[in-house]
């Protein structure tokens, strides 16, 4: 015992001193409110979602994890899905949307590996659109390309080193090393660049919330036509004669196929069931789903082969989802209202319930083709729900405040609403913080299923012009 004690006495003060300083400096860094650089993965929204998933899973089991691209990031409402399935089954059901922009099939094993560092879901809702056969190499600027050049690449395939690495990158002095270094070297956050995803708010369920409306009919028609001719279906004879690998190779690249194998192994090891939720680009749903038999056949084959390969259940609501124009953000993405409508269908399929009302009779102003000639309407205008009753006529609009979005300017602002009868009403805005304004209106139409086109405007050269900051939330009060 004596030599051990002697050793501790000699080494102890050093270790205590070192640990104390590391601990104190780490705490100081953690208290700094530094911006997220996403140094681990190189993709900021993804790391933000991983943090949110970590918090989400600490509050209860994750029953389902949505994986997909921005199409499902915007187009699936995990919060609503959780509510609908919970209501239908009577059991708590918690869904988290871990979709991230530009995800392809090849990205999904990486995303799944990341997600399971904080939680192992029971079901994986793989939510992907049909696409033409991709290249056999990782394309530049894709998430996989970025991550293969980021520190995450070193241990991602290792079963126990990867979770350890994640914990290492969660240490504040490591996580915030890059912004601190920028501050030291440049005196500012020189290497912090804004990303498209900064414009949107991510809720606690991982949903990227988007109230925008930015489409025009010509673009919708063009992309729909292009998309419909993208796939060449196999003939009935080929379908019956070809082997599964041959069919796979018709629709999927080698990278996709190896990703499927990897994902299947990973989920099987975790006891996680894969459910494929077929989805599509927004323009396909508008004005009605396509009926061209070649396209319809090819899409069925695409998802059928995928489901077979992944031993997965297939939720196939794409043929019955009909979107109205107010549900679309742009040619590719649904907005909050589109996401709600599509999610309702998916929830019904998952719970084997009756189909919900897909296209409620929503009253909204006539939506102009974008970009609009009306200077008060821009891509940052938001479709918001009308107040529920006459007494709540004060509207609060909130914008995001992050690396890409500056605070609201301290200039006279107004809030403008276009009502379902296409009249505009305007009220002076009160700046309640650097991210929110309030405006009080009188005599607005009220009730459910009514939408207004809301925008923050300011006076310039004797007329009103849109103030270009994205609206992330709205609420009505007395």
């Amino acid at each position: 015992m004596a030599p051990v004690w002697h050793f501790v006495r000699r080494v102890g003060p050093f270790l205590v001193g070192a640990a104390a300083v590391v601990f104190i400096l780490n705490a100081v860094v953690a208290a700094q409110h530094l911006p997220e650089y996403a140094s681990w993965t190189g993709i900021r929204p993804l790391e933000e979602k991983l943090q949110k998933l970590d918090r989400f899973s600490s509050q209860g089991p994750v029953d389902a994890l949505v994986l997909g691209s921005s199409i499902s990031d915007f187009g699936i409402n995990a919060k609503l899905l959780s509510e609908r399935v919970t209501a239908a089954t009577g059991e708590p059901y918690r869904v988290f949307n871990f979709s991230t922009g530009a995800t392809e099939l090849v990205t999904t094993p990486t995303l799944y590996r990341m997600a399971r560092t904080v939680s192992k879901p029971r079901t994986l809702l793989l939510t992907l659109p049909e696409e033409g056969r991709g290249p056999d190499a990782i394309p530049p600027r894709s998430p996989d390309y970025i991550m293969r050049r980021a520190p995450i690449r070193t241990a991602i395939a290792h079963p126990w080193l990867f979770p350890l690495e994640k914990r290492f990158w969660d240490i504040p002095m490591v996580r915030y090393a890059a912004p601190l270094r920028d501050r030291l070297v440049y005196g500012r956050f020189a290497n912090l660049v804004g990303q498209g995803a900064d414009l949107y708010w991510i809720d606690d369920f991982g949903d990227t919330v988007n109230y925008a409306y930015q489409t025009n009919k010509a673009d919708l028609k063009f992309l729909r036509t292009a998309h419909e001719t993208m796939l060449v279906p196999l003939t009935e004879k080929q379908m019956s004669a070809w082997s599964q690998p041959a069919k796979l190779e018709h629709y999927y690249s080698k990278l996709d196929i190896s990703a499927m194998t990897e994902l299947r192994k990973l989920t099987a090891a975790d006891g996680c069931q894969i459910v494929i939720v077929a989805t599509d680009v927004a323009s396909i749903y508008y004005p009605v789903p396509p009926t061209d038999p070649t396209f319809v056949r090819a899409r069925r084959q695409f998802f059928g082969i995928l489901a077979h390969e992944l031993h997965a259940k297939l939720v196939y609501d794409v043929e019955k989802f009909k979107a109205q124009q107010y549900m679309l953000t742009d040619t590719v993405h649904l907005n909050h209202y589109g996401a709600n409508a599509f999610t309702s269908l998916v929830a019904a399929s998952l719970t084997h319930s009756a189909d919900p009302r897909v296209s409620p009779r929503v009253e909204h102003p006539t939506l102009p083709d974008m970009p609009s000639s009306d200077p008060t309407i821009s891509g940052f205008s938001a479709l918001i729900e009308a107040p529920k009753h006459k007494r709540a006529l004060t509207l609060r609009l909130t914008i995001l405040r992050n690396e890409a979005i500056p605070p609201l300017p301290n200039i006279p602002l107004q809030v403008m609403l276009r009502l379902p009868d296409n009249t505009d009403v305007t009220a002076q805005a009160r700046l309640t913080s650097d991210t929110s304004v309030e405006a009080t209106f009188a005599n607005l139409p009220t009730g459910p299923d009514k939408l207004f086109l809301a925008r923050i405007v300011y006076e310039a050269g004797g007329r009103l012009a849109a103030h270009n900051q994205p609206i992330s939330a709205d609420s009505w009060s007395r």
Binding site: F14, V21, A150, A177, A178, V185
Partner: protein
């Protein structure tokens, strides 16, 4: 394999148990040699072939040299050793330099001799000089020849200092490799402190590089003030980089109970150019002094020959650093500084200085040395004559602009630089930056805190950046 990477950490952790067993069985050179091969071969296993040619040549020639008293034979063996070592160095490091110079001089057929695929084996200048110092010492009778090949190879290959020094003398390192000092907790802790301080310095060097590299990559469009700041920045970068490496090497070695010689002693607080060269890259400057300057005649043959020897030594020293005229200019500048320094003292002009107050004289000496050294670094950093001309024009514009202090100083970085300089200033004349053995509970606690601080700062400065090679690895 870079010290600041997890690869090295794993390598070292694997090495330690083998080393512990080797200490008990008195077979340290064998274990050190084996692991050094892995360490060095990690870059490129083919480099090991050159390393072993050098080892075999000097080992066997030293035996032969020591076995005869015939002067011409001894000289012949020495010359053979020189020929082999310098041929390897000359071919791999200087071949394309000589060819490019011949092309520049329009020598016919020179262009065809260029070998674009020639790769420079990492650390070749260091181990060649270390091996040459050994055969020189045997020739001069300073050290007997080593009779055991494994021991000699371990001396040349000892991994903490193999690729960038400090260049060790056989009389200093080999006895320690055979019988190192006891590994006590105090010594290990001191080694850890030294290593973490070196890690911090290296991280600081890389951060400075981040700031100044854009200016060097586009000198013609950078403002004069930015160019001048970048030159000073590079002076700091190269110091922190090489100093950081040396401290990490010494820290690793100290943990093993083997003390490497000091390579830096607050060089930027030198009071004169002569003083600078007793503080900067000490193991090289002592090598140049002992094996070049003194054999050339040193200061024993009159003033002019002394100046010639100084100039020649520094020119060769410059060329040792790199195969390029810019390094020759750098060496030439330092040679000139030393000649001027010596002349200033020698012809009595030094007495002018003695009339000044001591502090003023020291301050003036420091300022002239600091600025002169910083200016010379320009030639270390630039790649072409055109860049040198542009940079000098920018310096001139800056000096004549009347706006000398228009730099934007990154205060955070300046603070970190100030920490190293404060330590340098406090420990300017101390035998080492940190004591070899930490004693006293409060002191040990304080050094633990400092180690934690250096480590954290290093992590912050280096996390999520690609590991940068040490500048001196290319020499």
């Amino acid at each position: 394999m870079l010290f600041q990477t997890t690869t090295f950490l794993i390598f070292f952790l694997v090495f330690l148990p083998f080393y512990a067993v080797a200490r008990r069985r008195r077979s340290i050179p064998l274990v050190v040699l084996a692991f050094s091969q892995v360490f060095y071969g990690w870059w490129d296993w083919r480099f090991l072939i050159l390393l072993w040619i050098t080892i075999f040549t000097d080992f066997f020639l030293a035996q032969r040299l020591a076995s005869t008293d015939v002067s011409w034979k001894r000289k012949l063996f020495l010359a053979c050793s020189f020929a082999v070592s310098l041929s390897l160095l000359g071919f791999f490091k200087y071949w394309n330099f000589f060819v490019n110079t011949a092309v520049f001089a329009h020598l016919p057929g020179a262009g065809h001799a260029h070998i674009p695929s020639l790769i420079l084996p990492v650390g070749i200048s260091f181990y060649t000089f270390q091996s040459l110092s050994y055969i020189f010492d045997v020739y001069r009778g300073v050290h007997p020849p080593v009779r055991n090949l494994v021991q000699y190879a371990a001396f040349v290959c000892y991994f903490p200092q193999l690729v960038a020094g400090p260049i060790q003398r056989v009389g200093h390192l080999l006895p320690q490799l055979i019988k190192p000092a006891p590994v006590t907790p105090e010594r290990v802790l001191s080694g850890l402190t030294l290593f973490s301080y070196g890690f911090f310095c290296k991280a600081l060097a890389d951060s400075i590089a981040q700031r100044i590299n854009p200016a060097f990559s586009d000198l013609s469009h950078a403002s004069p003030g930015t160019v001048v700041a970048a030159i000073f920045g590079f002076g700091l970068q190269i110091y922190f980089d090489f100093y950081g490496y040396s401290q990490m090497a010494r820290g690793v070695s100290r943990i093993l109970g083997i003390e490497l010689t000091l390579n830096f002693r607050s060089p930027y607080f030198a009071a004169s150019f002569r003083d600078f060269w007793t503080r900067w890259h000490i193991s090289l400057s002592q090598w140049l002094r002992d094996y070049l300057y003194i054999p050339l005649g040193g200061n024993r043959s009159g003033r002019l020959l002394r100046y010639r020897n100084l100039l020649l030594t520094m020119l060769i020293g410059g060329l040792w650093h790199g195969a390029g005229w810019n390094f020759v200019i750098w060496g030439g500048l330092h040679g000139s500084y030393l000649v001027a320094n010596t002349a200033f003292d020698g012809v009595g002009l030094g007495r002018v200085g003695t009339a000044m107050p001591k502090a003023l004289r020291a301050g003036l000496g420091w300022a002239v040395t600091f600025v002169g050294v910083m200016y010379a670094w320009l030639y270390f950093r630039i790649g072409t004559f055109h860049e040198a001309i542009v940079a000098n024009r920018k310096i001139y514009e800056w000096l004549t602009s009347g706006d000398l202090w228009s730099w934007s100083v990154p205060w955070g970085l300046a603070l970190l630089v100030a920490i190293v300089f404060a330590i340098d200033l406090i420990r300017r004349d101390a035998p080492d930056v940190f004591p070899m053995v930490l004693q006293g509970r409060r002191r040990v606690f304080a050094f633990g805190g400092a180690t934690g601080g250096f480590f954290t700062a290093g992590i912050i400065l280096l996390a999520a950046t690609p590991a940068q090679q040490f500048i001196y690895f290319q020499f």
